[in-house]
């Protein structure tokens, strides 16, 4: 990025995707901006400057571990030249005036960087204009530095708080000038966590921590089979449990499920324990419905069978069949990955209370407060503006807390009982009634010529779609899902055909950290390794061969529809030069090619997702009993500009562990429509004893706009481990999790 960048108001509005012109700047936080003698000025909904010199910054994105409550104010405060010790971070409630608040898709920085910079810069320029007006000096002679406006020639200066009254009389500037990146004071710096004290003293307030006056604690028994309903309920015993106050039958779930509550029976009590004890005393007869026949083992065979038939072509380059016919060698592989549960440490939790005016106020661990407004408004028959959402800290989320269902349960119960209600899901509720990461079967077929070059690549992906959660007609992969790691294949293979196959959903399908990239990267990066070994080539060198010459790949050239995570390919290209740089860096970090102890192996995998490219190398050790241990991980990320390198490193470390969990342990299965797992004993995740001795992270120094960070670290981890296991043993595993092959 070079020099000063100018952004007009029109461009700003286009960039931020806020369609209604004038909305952003016209909005205030409810303070009159033009009043004489104002004690504050709010140049945008994100910034409010008080006359006590405190700059309030509103975080409109949800904190779920990615560190956005630190990174977001870094951007605003930097452009505003605010002193970090004089900012106060406030969590914005759910409100369309903030624009997009849905904290998913690793979008908080990559889609909002210019919006946040503009929020800071517009406030800075207003303060400069205010000082210029007060002092009768040209604004061009004034500079903002460390929470004050300075006139260098005269040495005159004024603190921001002292300029509030004048600034309040000014219009917010339409055009703003961004700082020279060389002058950044917070962006690109490893700032400490804003919530560090709260999170180490128990003071942080999560969704489950809300306490409201006279609140009832609710525990809901839901049908063990998705889509089932209550046939009858006997609550006599439940009502006798000490502390239980009410038993309420919930409205039935909907089809498609959307974000609506699943139905069932709620027990409300004076504390969580009593509610759970009362719930155990319920006698419910269920109408289990059509999904009672869902058996994930037989369903798997359907998926695999579908993947072996010609599917719907979503991208085609050259002629794969002709190439297979003339190939020196052809290899085929089936990959399978099961349903996963998010299992955030904090299960879903929300509280709600009705106000006398008929409005409802909700406190929720939510990634998407505006979707709660919509869901609850429809459920309660009120207007969205009557649904106030307070966003708490989220005790992990990973996509689960994008869904409004648990908040809607709390709102519905608050209205039904007339009392404040907290709904807390148990761990078993969380794992048995989730919005699962989908199950997938993939078939790959590759052709090699006599020099070991890959000449043809056929990839079929079959899985029930996230779309099924919102539409009964969604019976197969959606284009946006195939664009997550399949259609955006960067390999320089002259003949390539990508196909999808239909599959019907029998559980609620949702998105889980990096979504379809998990299984697509597993298949694509494993198959690349298989081709390398078939070609008797070093897997790292072969990956560079597959990357091919430096170029920018556009899937549309081969007839594919590709949305590139909603951002322009001109700004965020699929750039094989950057891809190759990541291959080189991460393999160098790991000492690729070094001598390894017996039973050890190195595996490499590189995958672009959410506009960032991440490479992972795993070193595994296979012990005398054939069990696999991940000794060390190396991760290199090209995310373009990064706001907080320490948080980016933390996300890569966390992605390493998250990726290990799904690679080694993660599996949700169903029998007779009932989820067979229920807690961390049957749905294990990685613990300290299995953690690698180190997760070494490198952030590539790339002059490019920011890519995503929260998700892209996950996809390459599982294939790196599988490839390392092959390097150690010569055995190929094509199914996740690895415990199924007896490796854990």
């Amino acid at each position: 990025m070079s020099g000063f960048e100018k952004l007009s108001r029109r461009e700003f509005l286009q960039t931020t995707g806020i369609a209604s012109g004038g909305l952003v700047f016209a909005m205030t936080l409810g303070y009159p901006r033009s009043a004489a003698g104002a004690s504050n000025v709010a140049p945008s909904v994100y910034v409010n400057i008080r006359d006590d010199d405190v700059v309030e910054i509103y975080c409109h994105r949800s904190e779920m571990g990615q560190g956005i409550r630190t990174s977001l104010p870094q951007v605003i405060a930097d452009e505003l030249e605010a002193d970090w010790d004089r900012i106060e971070l406030l969590q914005a409630p759910g409100d369309a005036k903030y624009g997009d608040q849905n904290t998913d898709g690793s979008t908080s920085i990559r889609k909002h960087f210019d919006l946040l910079r503009t929020a800071g810069a517009s406030a800075r320029e207003m303060l400069i204009a205010a000082a210029a007006m007060e002092w009768g000096m040209p604004a061009a002679e004034l500079v903002a530095r460390n929470h004050a406006i300075h006139h260098e020639a005269s040495g005159r200066s004024a603190a921001y708080g002292d300029l509030v009254a004048s600034a309040a009389e000014l219009e917010v500037p339409e055009d703003v000038t961004f700082k020279d990146p060389a002058d950044y004071r917070y962006i690109g710096k490893p700032m400490d966590l804003i919530d560090g004290v709260a999170m180490t003293t128990g003071a942080g307030i999560y969704g489950t921590d809300t306490v409201l006056p006279g609140m009832l604690y609710a525990s809901v028994e839901r049908c063990p089979v998705f889509g089932g309903t209550v046939k009858s309920v006997d609550d006599a015993k439940a009502l006798k449990v000490a502390g239980v106050e009410q038993v309420v039958q919930m409205p039935d779930g909907t089809s498609p499920p959307g974000y609506n509550p699943l139905g069932g029976v709620a027990v409300l009590a004076s504390n969580t324990w009593s509610a759970e004890q009362g719930r155990k005393a319920l006698a419910i007869e269920w109408e289990t419905g059509l999904n009672a026949e869902y058996d994930s083992a037989s369903y798997r065979q359907q998926l695999v069978d579908t993947s072996h038939k010609e599917g719907k072509t979503v991208m085609n380059r050259g002629d794969v069949n002709a190439a297979f016919g003339t190939a020196d060698r052809v290899i085929e592989a089936d990959y399978y990955a099961p349903h996963l549960s998010h299992a955030p440490m904090e299960p879903p939790a929300a509280s709600a209370m009705m106000h006398e005016d008929g409005s409802v106020e909700i406190w929720a661990a939510t990634q998407d407060p505006q979707s709660i407004q919509g869901t609850v408004a429809a459920l309660l028959g009120i207007d969205k503006t009557q649904v106030k959402i307070n966003v708490t800290l989220l005790g992990g989320a990973f996509g689960r807390k994008s869904k409004a269902d648990f908040s809607a349960e709390a709102a519905w119960l608050a209205k039904k009982t007339g009392k404040p209600v907290k709904v807390s899901w148990s761990r078993e509720d969380d794992i048995r009634h989730g919005y699962y990461h989908t199950v997938s079967a993939q078939y790959l077929k590759g052709a090699l010529d006599d020099e070991g070059n890959t000449t043809a690549w056929l990839h079929r992906s079959v899985f029930p779609s996230i779309g099924s959660t919102f539409s009964a007609e969604a019976t197969g992969p959606a284009n946006f899902e195939l664009g997550l790691g399949m259609i955006d294949n960067p390999y320089a293979v002259p003949n390539m055909r990508l196909e999808s196959g239909d599959a019907k959903a029998h559980v609620r399908i949702g998105w889980l950290r990096s979504v379809c990239n998990i299984y697509h990267a597993f298949a694509v990066c494993s198959f690349a390794d298989e081709l390398a070994h078939e070609a008797a080539a070093d897997p790292r060198d072969y990956l560079l061969r597959l990357a091919g010459s430096p170029r920018k790949v556009n899937p549309a050239d081969d007839g594919a529809e590709y949305s590139n995570y909603g951002q322009s390919l001109d700004v965020h290209p699929i750039d094989t030069a950057r891809y190759a740089a990541v291959i080189r860096k991460v393999s160098d970090m790991a000492g690729w090619g070094r001598n390894l102890p017996d039973g050890h192996g190195l595996g490499i995998s590189v995958h672009r997702s959410f506009l960032s490219t991440v490479g992972a190398v795993a070193e595994v050790r296979v012990d005398g009993e054939g069990k696999l241990h991940v000794e060390e991980l190396w991760i290199a990320i090209d995310a373009g500009l990064v706001v907080n390198p320490d948080r980016v490193a933390a996300q890569m470390e966390g992605a390493g562990i998250f990726g290990m969990s799904l690679a080694l342990h993660g599996e949700i299965t169903a029998k007779d429509g009932v989820i067979e797992q229920g807690n961390y004993d049957t749905y294990p995740v990685i613990r300290m004893s299995e953690a690698p001795k180190a997760i070494n992270v490198h952030i590539m120094d790339v002059d490019a706009p920011p890519g995503g960070v929260g998700e892209p670290g996950v996809p390459p981890v599982a294939p790196a481990i599988v490839n390392a296991y092959f390097a150690a043993t010569g055995k190929r595993v094509r199914e996740l999790p690895l415990k199924k092959a007896g490796l854990v």
């Binding site: 571990g65 324990w273 440490m345 470390e653 966390g654 990685i686």
Partner: protein, 152 residues
């Protein structure tokens, strides 16, 4: 019959079901929410508190078992949040979502209390009952070394 114990030094007397897990007495009755629920079966460690100095999974520990004992939660670990473990945690920016960290810190503090210089294997043994879904394990390990006064 009321069950009596001390919570962060404050006398407590609660007339509740003696089988009620200490976790829910701490959270719902005494109103201290720093101790977290994660599994209800002593599988994840989010609810770890000290009972007479020993780390205990309060979600599976009946309140009656705490009678006459001294219970310490994350809120009572130090007067100003300045226990060496808490300070090391902040210096290394260990938390991500932060939800499990109360339990992690309480387990780590108890470990260092009885073993001031734990080895990597001893850390793994002591800390493996505490799950972090965000995956902060490598920083937790470093923070424990730092709190122990060693290199990190």
């Amino acid at each position: 019959m009321a069950i009596e114990f001390t919570l962060n030094g404050e006398p407590q007397s609660h007339d509740v079901d003696p089988q009620m897990p200490l976790l829910w007495v701490i959270r719902d009755i005494a109103g201290l929410t720093g101790t977290k629920y994660g599994c209800g079966k002593a599988l994840c460690g989010s609810c770890t508190v000290h009972v007479d100095g020993n780390p205990v999974r309060s979600c599976a520990f009946p309140v009656s078992a705490a009678a006459g004992m001294s219970v310490t939660t994350i809120e009572g670990l130090s007067a100003n949040g300045d226990h060496p473990v808490q300070e090391a945690w902040r210096e290394l920016n260990v938390p991500q979502c932060g939800y499990c960290q109360s339990g992690q810190i309480m387990t780590a503090a108890a470990l260092l209390e009885r073993n001031p210089n734990p080895s990597e294997a001893e850390i793994a043994t002591a800390m493996s009952g505490n799950i972090c879904r965000c995956g902060t394990y490598t920083r937790i390990r470093k923070a424990i070394y730092r709190a122990a006064g060693g290199e990190s």
